[in-house]
């Protein structure tokens, strides 16, 4: 299958202090991984597309090192000011008229947790889509997708061309091999300047730490004592039981 995977560079949310370290969005890594798995025994190539600053090339090389073949880098320095809709329009502009069987995105950005760009892109391109995929297989003329819904999983048949947004519950992305890393260094990245973007429809006014919880009580001791204390607290202090 001819895949195009939309990948994003995000700040590392795992870092305990703000290190400024940038990583490949975990959900996009799962999308790349699944495309690689599906194409394991075929000759079809996997393309990548990323909108981001010049420094985001390192993230593109990481995904190339996993095994993707080609990459387009739409250079845009202040990408953080764009909302999902602006991103989706830029991606649609670039992907219009392409002949991919499937376009993959992550189910959400790890930093903004929006979860919108995939569905927006599918609508702009006018192709069928499925979100929050936890499983994906190729069929004769498209994809069989298992998505995580509210009360269970739903299996959907999508005809190519289609779009799927991927959950990290789908797989564990491979660690690039040394050979992959060396190969990725030599790949020519197709670099283009971002076209004009309209004013984003939403604006982040400020970010601040959440209120936080009142400090709790940590209890140590014999299990019998701990349980007795907890029951008393739940009944008399918290009114929770």
């Amino acid at each position: 299958m001819k895949f195009c995977v939309c990948i994003k560079q995000v700040p590392d949310v795992q870092a305990s202090v703000q290190t400024g370290r940038m990583v490949l969005n975990a959900y996009d890594a799962s999308a790349v991984e699944q495309a690689l798995v599906i194409n394991e025994n075929g000759t079809d190539e996997i393309d990548l597309i990323l909108i981001g600053p010049a420094s985001a090339t390192e993230t593109i090389r990481k995904a190339l090192a996993m095994g993707a073949s080609n990459a387009t880098h739409i250079v845009m320095e202040n990408v953080a000011d764009l909302d999902s809709s602006a991103i989706a329009h830029l991606l649609a502009e670039s992907l219009k008229g392409s002949n991919y069987d499937a376009i993959l995105t992550g189910k959400q950005s790890q930093d903004s947790d929006s979860g919108l760009a995939g569905g927006m892109l599918a609508e702009l391109l006018g192709i069928p889509y499925a979100t929050n995929a936890v499983g994906m297989e190729a069929t004769a003329d498209g994809l069989l997708v298992t998505r995580q819904g509210d009360t269970g999983q739903e299996m959907l048949v999508l005809k190519a061309p289609c779009l799927v947004t991927c959950s990290n519950d789908m797989n564990n992305p491979r660690i690039p091999s040394l050979k992959g890393i060396m190969g990725a260094k030599r790949t020519t990245i197709n670099t283009v300047q971002a076209g004009p973007v309209g004013t984003p429809k939403t604006k982040v006014e400020k970010t601040f730490p959440p209120a936080g919880r009142a400090p709790g009580l940590k209890m140590e001791g014999e299990p019998e004592e701990l349980v007795a204390q907890l029951i008393t607290k739940l009944q008399q202090e918290a009114g929770a039981i």
Binding site: S84, S85, L121, Y129, V227, L230
Partner: protein
Amino acid sequence: MKCILVVLSIQDGKIKRSSLEALTRAATIGEATSSPVHAVIMHSSAASFAAEAGSYGADTVFCLSDRIFDAHVNTPVLAGLTTVINQVDPKLIVAASTESIKDIAGALAIRIDAATLPDVASFDMVDGTVTCERPVMAAKMMAKTTSAHSRVLVTLRSGSYEAKASSGAGKMVEVPFEWDTNLLSATLKEIISTTGNTVDLSEAKVVVAAGRGVKDASGKALVDELASITGAAIGASRAVVETGLFPATAQIGQTGKVVSPDLYFAIGISGAIQHVAGMSNSRVIVAINKDADAPIFDVATYGLVGDCFKILPLLNDALRKALA
């Protein structure tokens, strides 16, 4: 004044509590801004829920009745909502942030030209500008985000507002909806129901969540017992969903569900930020972990340092007596 439209989700034969929370909040904003508040229900027997929607503050309840909606396939839901939105021309569209809504939010926003504020923890509308606060960076930060666009779609996290019935009685309007199954761009092959939960996790008053410390079937049995004694829904960390010990539907966190129960038990869960992102709004958090330095203790109201295999049998007995 342009209206507010609230999209109500039906699950297990009733309007989801999170939808009623969204409707209650919309009604409050509607009153403050003198905007009419309408609701839309798409379900095989949509009309049967109209009276309840009215009692939570909907002036008009638009009902689209078709069996196709019960299968959660996105194309008909998009078509149905677009029909109603074109008819009532709302300024603000509000829905509870369920998986089914997340499935259509992006595509809908493009189709009806709406700005989108997804998964918000609170929102308001003042002078035509919609403001919200939403958790970002796995809920490590909050972002105050605004939109002055002519139409705004907001999806609301469950538990953000209390659902309150009022004395109102809404008017019901049946919206004709014809669906040609040939138009389905994606076809549903199968629904695999995996919860095993009798209580809806995202709306449960008590949640018992298990992590890697629960280890195996014997640990799971203790967790199941605690849940049955407390009438809780069962949740899980990603680690035990990955091993297959718990179903993916039970996952709580950044990838999984957001819960805000009255009482949350975290059993053998380390408290990674991606897990905490989904449960830190619980009123009372009880953590059982044998590592006194586990980060879960930073958010726990009551932290018990110890082995869950030793503590749970005693706790189950004690709770059974206390709740008898």
